[in-house]
């Protein structure tokens, strides 16, 4: 077992070096780095891609290496961005002239209450100490409270009131009487009948979908029929969602394979 790992590692190292040499001689000049380093970077990116893909075969040291690297690098990336954009950008210009000058951001003016968030922030960091865990709940409470307070009115407006009024559809679109309706009747995608059918489906679909999610009454009689229609509409909805999700996942694979075939192997232009 140990020997196999060694052999595979050796092969990977050799392939890595070959790729590095080839890429060094073929990468286009971009001005930031010398070709030698660029060749290494492209090869390393390809190596990481393949290392993650090797998980499909089974869990292995290459995958573990890539995964562990990812965890460390992405945490530090988010910290760096947060530090420069938000602490330097929004906090320092409000609490300290000296800090603003040091980091080269224009100082706004003192707002004493902006000492509260860094204090809460440090309280949050107390979670790292085994004994200070309980006090970090104060900061957690601020986060929970903000989210709740921000969400409550906005969900009620956008996902509730606006949705109701968006469903107020004139069911009979372009209605000019029964005669014209039948004489122009067709199943064309842009025709009047389909437009009417769309609005009726939306109206009944929303209504019956809501009835399906109504828990205070047993689903019997008319209510039962409506809720059965509701579940069918919901299943079509989930089908659409299924299709889109599958589509999205595949796009990601196509994107990655394009990188391997184009930027690394250079098979396609």
């Amino acid at each position: 077992m140990r020997r196999i790992t060694l052999i595979v590692t050796a092969v990977v190292v050799v392939l890595f070096i070959i790729s590095w040499i080839i890429k060094t001689n073929t990468v286009p000049e971009d001005g930031t780095f010398r070709p030698f380093i660029q060749g290494f970077l492209v090869t390393f990116a390809a190596f990481l891609t393949l290392a993650i893909m090797s998980f499909l075969y089974r869990d292995n040291p290459f995958y573990k290496f890539a995964e562990h690297l990812y965890v460390g690098v992405s945490a530090a990336y988010a910290m760096s961005l947060g530090f420069w954009t938000t602490l330097v950008g929004n906090l320092f210009p409000r609490i300290s002239q000296n800090l603003s000058d040091w980091f080269g951001v224009p100082f706004l003016h003192y707002e004493w209450h902006f000492v509260i968030p860094p204090i809460l922030g440090i309280i949050l960091l107390m979670r790292l100490s085994p004994k200070g865990g309980w006090i970090s709940r104060w900061a957690l409470a601020f986060i929970v409270g903000t989210t709740a307070g921000l969400n409550l009115p906005r969900f009620l407006r956008s996902d509730f009131i606006e949705q109701i009024s968006s469903t107020f559809l004139p069911l009979l679109v372009q209605w000019q009487g029964v005669g014209p309706f039948f004489s122009n009747f067709s199943l064309a995608a842009s025709g009047q009948f389909i437009a009417i059918l769309t609005n009726i489906t939306i109206f009944l679909g929303v209504l019956c979908g809501l009835i399906y999610f109504f828990f205070s009454k047993e689903h019997k009689g008319v209510f039962g029929t409506a809720s059965r229609f509701g579940i069918w509409v919901l299943m079509v909805t989930f089908g659409a969602s299924f299709g889109y999700t599958v589509m999205g996942r595949i796009s990601l694979l196509v994107g990655r394979l394009t990188f391997l075939l184009k930027d690394w192997l250079g098979i396609i232009s």
Binding site: L150, N151, R157, L261, I268
Partner: protein, 307 residues
């Protein structure tokens, strides 16, 4: 030469599907690694022998395109990069297409992001699309990079009333007061159109809830396929149209190509992805059918044994 390659790989793919069908009809299970290899092969071969299709925009995408077309010149357009590399193949082409369309129409661009990774992707857009294709665009007068801010919905709740309270400077540390694009911009309400591009949280949904609805700003979301169906209820009143997944991006790209000569030769990554995409859809559907044939046969056998 390419044609022969296409036929051989098609033959291999359909032959493989047939083999898997026969194998599972015998009641045996195909190892999932074989399935993985099969998917890898079919997608890779479709990429190598790239087949490009014509796309025409569906109404919901066309609405967005036409909205941009009909805006008076020098309108203010905000693009928010709310995604990370994991969504990049689907939605980055949309952001780039929006940038192209906005600048070719002479609109003013404001770039920001609610995801830390978005800022790096913003840099990519500026370096690889904006600067080479629009060398005359001036930073600060035609476009500005505001960058990322932490705080999700909290960010939106502030910029809806005051940009400067949230962004005292742009991403390069220049004060907004010395950037001409902000002379007549106070808050996000002053935008004529917002393109939130993304697919997670925070993302387009938060833009509708926290900026679009309360500020009455037109929102045109560019969405990763996974969340696209979820945003449909906001159309057409709370979102003027929407782009869903790589297909939506491809439609927008083709619409741009059709209407503007200068974009005839630009990269259209989303359009190029449609070939492999089609192949993979066929394979997935075939797998579902094959799997279910096996399932129904097994169930009927069980039934017969039961009787």
């Amino acid at each position: 030469m390419t044609n022969i390659g296409v036929y051989i790989s098609l033959l291999l793919i359909f032959g493989g599907l047939l083999a898997i069908l026969i194998y599972s009809l015998k009641g045996r299970d195909v190892d999932r690694r074989i399935i993985f290899l099969f998917v890898l092969f079919s997608v890779a071969s479709a990429i190598i022998f790239h087949i490009e299709f014509e796309e025409s925009a569906t109404p919901i995408v066309k609405k967005v395109f036409e909205f941009v077309e009909n805006l008076p010149p020098e309108s203010k357009i905000l693009i928010s990069f709310d995604f990370d590399p994991a969504m990049k193949p689907e939605v980055h082409p949309m952001a780039n297409a929006f940038v192209r369309h906005a600048l070719v129409k002479g609109h003013k661009l404001y770039l920001m992001g609610l995801w830390p990774q978005g800022q790096a992707l913003m840099t990519e857009t500026i370096e690889y699309v904006l600067k080479p294709e629009f060398p005359n665009a001036v930073y600060g007068e035609d476009y500005v990079m505001l960058g990322y801010k932490a705080g999700n919905e909290g960010v939106l709740n502030v910029i809806i009333t005051d940009f400067r309270k949230m962004y005292s400077t742009d991403a390069h540390g220049t004060s907004l007061d010395s950037i001409p694009l902000f002379d007549d911009v106070k808050s996000a309400k002053d935008m004529d159109l917002i393109f939130p591009v993304g697919g997670g949280k925070p993302g387009p949904k938060e833009w509708i809830l926290f900026v679009g609805d309360p500020g009455n700003v037109p929102i045109a979301p560019g969405l990763a396929a996974v969340v696209a169906p979820l945003i449909y209820p906001y159309y057409p009143r709370q979102a003027i149209g929407l782009l869903g997944g790589v297909k939506g991006a491809a439609e927008y790209e083709s619409e741009l190509k059709k209407n503007y000569k200068e974009f005839e030769n630009v990269e259209t990554p989303a359009l190029q992805m449609m070939g492999p995409q089609t192949m993979a859809h066929i394979v997935i559907m075939a797998f579902i059918v094959i799997g279910n044939i096996g399932f129904f046969r097994a169930r009927r056998r069980k039934w017969q044994e039961g009787n």
